[in-house]
């Protein structure tokens, strides 16, 4: 494959539907599956497909992503030729500025492939969970002499209004492509994975850049315009697991699906390793009274209490007599003795105080500020929040990042929000951990 393909990975998305989880980080940087971040799947697909030349386009809150990717070492993408580059918007002497859309992001970075031999360019979304060898798609694309090939997956009828829906002929040629249709002609949805012939892409992006009214989006603008001109656009059906985790409910369901007897996606395949940044943490430590069932627990976690049907990330501590059920606990979160967490997503470095009860449910009163995304009964707790001793938090509640016990006004009822009064403007990006109350990272077996 060397020199034959180059991948642009779109990682600039704001991900508003993930609410708190993507408030301080780009959606591809959201943790997933006990030790990964969402982008790991696409990036591992690249290297496992033999594509070692990747440009990651970032814009929204790239700090976590930059830190995670680093020099690309975990993916063997720290290379003298090719490798991974993080491409953020910059200001130059010409019209460069913030990316106006996905197509504009690629357009502004076409200079990056000037010295590449690649004839076919992959445009990938960094938002999805799937294992895909891109080579069959590249072969399909070359075999058909396609201008553009769009990977497509079958989605449930009721979800078709959230995707770009393709209609194909028997050879795979796209007959129609309609973004978020009210009434879909098929269940075949674009996966946000495109192969473009290099000349086609360049021309299409130049044209798009000149259109003032364009949203500069691949799905909404570039592809429809190519189709209208009669370009050879093909669809490549991908029959395996592909999951959009862009909503709280989908994110939760995809994580919990990993706990089923036969998960739809296998992370332990030695021939298709999902690479992620290496943390150098010891094996999971289980205490004398530990009880863990139907759960994923990552290295560096310590369990003294009970964990059932949950996904536990590195450095999490579940203390004695604490209980975690049907929940996702991200890195270095800690449930103190007697604490209880059920049907909740706890972001990194959350502290659940002694005897506190974070208990989601099914349905109930939707969240008062993000009703659209938080209505299924889950509790959402933001990064670095400290929940006071004995507090009760109900279904669809939202606890904002970095809140401290003083920010709580008693228990948190269904659908309520605990705001962080210090989170205004610039301060929001850093937060204020309670002074001296706790270390920034909790993963040692020796901490007090």
């Amino acid at each position: 494959m060397s020199g034959q393909a180059f991948a642009f990975l779109l990682a600039g998305g704001v991900g508003t539907r993930l609410c708190l989880l993507s408030e301080k980080r780009a959606k591809p940087a959201v943790p997933f599956g006990g030790k990964y971040r969402i982008i790991d799947f696409t990036l591992s697909n690249c290297v496992n497909s033999g594509i070692f030349d990747v440009g990651i386009l970032t814009q929204y809150r790239p700090t976590s992503l930059n830190q995670h990717i680093g020099s690309g070492r975990a993916w063997d993408l720290d290379r003298s030729r090719g490798g991974v580059r993080l491409l953020a918007p910059y200001r130059g002497s010409q019209e460069n500025d913030w990316y106006r859309g996905t197509a504009d992001a690629v357009y502004q970075n076409m200079v990056h492939i000037r010295n590449r031999r690649a004839e076919d360019l992959l445009i990938l979304s960094g938002d999805h969970i799937y294992k895909m060898d891109y080579n069959p798609m590249l072969e399909f694309h070359r075999d058909r002499r396609a201008a553009v090939t769009i990977a497509a997956t079958v989605v449930p009828v009721e979800d078709t209004n959230q995707y770009g829906i393709l209609e194909l002929d028997s050879r795979g040629r796209v007959l129609s492509f309609i973004e978020k249709p009210k009434e879909a002609r098929s269940q075949l949805a674009s996966m946000g994975v495109y192969v473009f012939r290099r000349d086609v892409l360049w021309q299409a992006l130049e044209e798009d850049a000149a259109v003032e009214s364009s949203n500069h989006d691949f799905g909404r603008d570039v592809i429809p315009r190519l189709l209208a001109k009669g370009a050879d656009v093909y669809g490549f059906p991908f029959p395996q697991y592909w999951q959009d985790v862009g909503t709280i409910d989908a994110f939760y369901a995809a994580n919990l699906d990993l706990l089923s007897d036969r998960p739809t996606i296998d992370f332990s395949d030695a021939d298709w390793v999902i690479h992620t940044a290496i943390l150098d943490l010891p094996a999971v430590r289980l205490g004398q009274d530990a009880a863990v069932e139907r759960s994923l627990v990552a290295n560096g976690a310590r369990v003294e209490g009970r964990v059932v049907r949950s996904v536990i990330f590195p450095g999490v501590v579940v203390e004695k007599n604490a209980e975690v059920v049907d929940s996702i606990l991200m890195n270095d979160t800690r449930v103190l003795p007697g604490g209880r967490v059920e049907r909740a997503i706890l972001d990194k470095q959350v502290w659940v105080g002694q005897g506190a009860r974070v208990e989601g449910g099914i349905g109930g009163r939707p969240n008062t500020v993000c009703a659209e995304h938080l209505h299924g009964g889950l509790v959402l707790v933001g990064k670095g929040a400290t929940l006071p001793e004995g507090v009760r938090v109900g279904p669809n509640a939202r606890v904002d990042p970095d809140v401290v016990p003083e920010d709580f006004d008693g228990d948190v009822g269904p659908g309520e929000v605990v705001w962080n009064p210090r989170a205004t403007g610039a301060a929001q990006s850093h937060g204020h951990p309670p002074a001296g109350a706790r270390p920034a990272r909790i993963s040692s077996g020796r901490e007090p």
Binding site: G33, D280, A283, L286, E293, L296, N299, V311, I312, S443
Partner: protein
Amino acid sequence: MRGTMAVFLAGGRGEGLGVLTEHRAPAAVPFGGKYRLVDFSLSNCHHSEILQVALLTQHAPTSLNEHVGAGRSWDLDRAQGGVRILQPFASRVRARWTEGPADALLRSLNEFDEAGIERLLVGSAEHVYLLDYSDLVASHQASGCPLTVTVLAVTPGRPRRARRVEIEGERVVRLASTKESVDRGHVAIGLFVFEMDFLRAAAADAAPRTLFEWVAAAAGAGVPVHAFEHDGYWEDPDDLATYYRTSMSLLAPNSPLSLADPLWTVETHGEERPPARFLPGSRVRESLVAGGAMVAGEVERSILFGGVIVEPGARVRDSILFQDVRVGAGARLDGVIADKQVQIGDGAVLGEGPPIAAASADVSALCVIGKEARLPAGHRLKRGGVVPVAPRALAGIG
């Protein structure tokens, strides 16, 4: 730490570790759920910023080579310096194996004698400890002595089988060249700093077989020898009993060895596995379970490495299972060390008996199963039973 190169001796046969070292160097023996013994020395180098490192190998170096690779896991893959593995080689003038560590060290002196190297830190690649080598080197330099011996105070009531050292102030007065049971005072832990000038002069003499004999002779001959005291955790798991006890001490709630200090991580190679998977019905207590393991049965006071599978109804107690061991449904394991890829058939019973007390581990009670051995369904093995390494594993990498 400019001017200092670390040299780790990894050429021993490790006879005390039985079938675990039949096909691999002792430094490559798996430890603590995901590590190999050499990881401690290399991680110490990384954190101490000693960026020039050599490993001297001789016996079964394949798995060690594979593990260390270019040194990437410890940031020792460097354009300048980094880690090197030195295996005895034949030249036109000679072709002979090395005869003990001192010989290995002196024979490789030309390799180390490069621009800017003023002293060598010399240790074993098989010891388990966390130590900032820059403290040791600084103490050595401040002493003005041509060589430094690292010593450890023996905890009263916990005798160690080691080499006794007598010190006065910070000077070594006498160093025993053989191991004995020491219940007070200090012992040497096989970690030295040598000035290059001293080594060059010494290389001219015929070298005794062990490094300790050589240092003891120097001390006896009036060479000023500095003593540096290491006041932290240190173990030399050179026999099965010590290996087992050292491993099991990690399970204690207040384990004296911290593997999770974010400022002094223990780094290793090649454990890219998903989180550990606990299935319905699993019961795991007082154990370490590494990523990639999958447990449906019952596990108590045990260490499970990555990829271990404990099938439903199986019960594992007081055992250490290396990577990718499979314990069949209904099997029972008590006090078993199973090397990589061992397959234990359904309903097999290994090492039946009352629980083994880790603190006073009687090696004769442990069952040790060699790499890739396959024990059929219903197989029974008494306490102290040993199953040799599968012949195909001897040819491979451990």
